[in-house]
Symmetry: C2
Subunit: 353 residues, 2 copies
DNA sequence: CTGAAAGCGCTAACAA
DNA sequence: TTGTTAGCGCTTTCAG
């Protein structure tokens, strides 16, 4: 293949405008100390020639790479893509992240990294060495992985931790998991429910526990007993089946269940149906996540919506425009909301009697 | 922000192994003319130091950028992401493209470009100048845009055109649209249908017309009249509503409809329901695309599955490993298949009588 | 088979 | 305010 060189370089612009390379560079980077007339002259040449700086060259000379890396868990992401169940986490990240990056002249690159793997560090180091991103966005369960955060901190690369509240390097961001779980619980309590079950996520996701806290807190505030009403899943369908089974087989089963993922919620719906329970007449159901499929279930699912696009956009904004951080600021909370659909209703009468 | 430099460079490796930079470079790029013992010595140093070449530097020195650009239509892609209807085209591209790229040491970057816009060229030129990708993957409706293909050809950048059969520069790839439409039509014919309607896509997508050809061809082979049974939509839900309305309001309405997108199929389902028609008892329905939502409709939809991931992976493979092309080879066809679910059934009796 | 030198396009540091 | 110089980390010449 023919050796492809940049067609229009800073040299061409400099020659065309009759100035030095440095002046062109200053105009490109919007640096001060350029007379307006000079600036205009250079800008005209840039427009005329259609010049766009090579990010490779910019990166080389020690400046920025104009690249943001969005890192997701490899196994889970691939599984979601292959299953084609409509999980749109990555899409929402792209929606928020690509647009926010683009507005600032940056690109966002999705990178998959294995968490449960002894060479997480090597994998990440390689990506960083190859790409030299100006910022990294971590998603659960990477956000709290000290191997990852430590490496990034050591390399002095700004990063955001979505779904992490811990202090330390990197921008901690959450979508208000505890609060969301509480909102959902309160919604059910208002509908008269007192036995509200909870299907939690796996404990390597710290947000899984915050959600439990939110639910338990709301239960306690209302004076209801939450003991024995929490089961763990792994966010996947199968685990949801098992968790729902346990909950519904209880001697005094819950009249409502909150599931920490849409897949587990759909699984619960299935178990309920198998047991001859009508949703929402016999059992109310709320799902965390608000992915496309929950609108197509029968009945459509009441769900907790998480602002993934907005959170990613905010992360990009802070990474690029943000002030350097001290490391002990409060986590940034992007609040989600409850979308009420057809899977929640008043507590069944027999349960009240 | 502190100036971040590469932590381990080719120099460190060369020093550690006691060889010249050039020899290290040769090992990295797997070039010949390096004695095995030399190669091993260098490789050991690379592993020991955890060295990974900077792609910026590699690109700078006139070699490759290790970047593949996947270009999608901006407006449609953003609309799909915002609508959250489960369209997973981009995900499937990432699934196939990222993995195939990754295996070869490349990255795939998603780029959104406006088609209906007078500065398509400028937009694309800018992306190319900034990123200098080693290959570009075009998706409809960009694949047949001469402004785009011409620019890429002029710049001598290898590219694939997904959903394009035209001769000329770039690798033409299709998912067998005509054949797929014919398969769907034949399936319906076997079920006894003779009046089979077709809802086509917009004519700036050339695959929209191939699908019409496939349907019409199958109808003709079976000796059925296809006239007046084809309506155009724009792939979106609203347009599907209108198209389905026209078809079902015909004096002699079709007993089966094939829609060129899942959204238009879902819309047709809705119109049918509004008319009191049962699917599949009164009306059979087949959807192009096989996105997640069609599995959750009532009934689940029989759909034509398009191997987007496989096609993208193949594109990456050809772009990176492929021989230079002459420009007049046959299009590469990645055949899809019909997934039979619950929306297709035997023709209603009254239609046969 | 291996090495030394030059340069890719850009910016940082300094000089004018 | 502007220009000059020296690299950034790598690959491409071209010598040895």
């Amino acid at each position: 293949m023919a050796r492809r060189r940049q067609s229009v370089t800073i040299k061409h612009v400099a020659a065309d405008a009759g100035v030095s390379l440095q002046t062109v560079s200053r105009v490109i980077n919007n640096e001060p100390n350029v007379r307006p007339e000079m600036k205009k002259r250079v800008q005209d040449s840039i427009d005329k020639l259609g010049y766009v700086p090579s990010i490779a060259a910019q990166r080389m000379s020690g400046s920025r790479s104009y690249l943001i890396l969005a890192i997701n868990d490899r196994a889970r992401t691939i599984a979601d893509w292959q299953a084609r169940l409509g999980t749109d986490w990555v899409d929402q990240m792209l929606l928020g992240g690509m647009l926010a990056s683009g507005e600032r002249g940056y690109r966002m690159l999705v990178e998959l990294v294995d968490t449960h793997n002894d060479h997480v560090e090597r994998e990440l180091s390689a990506a960083i060495a190859a790409l030299q991103p100006d910022g990294v966005i971590l998603t659960p369960p990477h956000s709290d992985n000290p191997l990852i955060t430590g490496l990034l901190a050591k390399r002095n690369i700004p990063f955001a931790r979505i779904g992490s509240k811990a202090a330390g390097p990197g921008i901690a961001m959450t979508m208000g998991d505890e609060h969301l779980a509480a909102i959902a619980t309160d919604h059910l309590i208002e509908l008269g429910h007192r036995r509200i079950g909870f299907i939690a996520g796996p404990d390597d996701y710290s947000l899984a526990d915050w959600r439990i806290d939110g639910w338990r807190g709301a239960m306690e505030r209302a004076g209801f007993d939450a003991n024995g009403l929490c089961e763990r899943g792994d966010f996947g369908f199968e685990s949801g089946l098992a968790a729902a089974r346990s909950l519904l087989d209880l001697p005094d089963p819950p009249t409502a269940i909150i599931a920490s993922s849409d897949q587990m919620a759909v699984a619960t719906l299935e178990v309920a149906r198998a047991d001859g329970l009508s949703v929402p007449d016999d059992l109310s159901l709320i799902s965390f996540d608000n992915t496309p499929i929950v609108r197509f279930t029968e009945p459509p699912m009441t769900a907790l919506d998480q602002p993934i696009a907005a959170t990613t956009a905010k992360a990009v904004e802070l990474l690029i425009d943000g002030e350097p951080r001290t490391g002990d600021e409060e986590p940034i909370v992007m609040e989600g909301s409850l979308v009420v659909r057809g899977s929640t209703g008043r507590v069944p009468q027999r349960a009240v009697n």
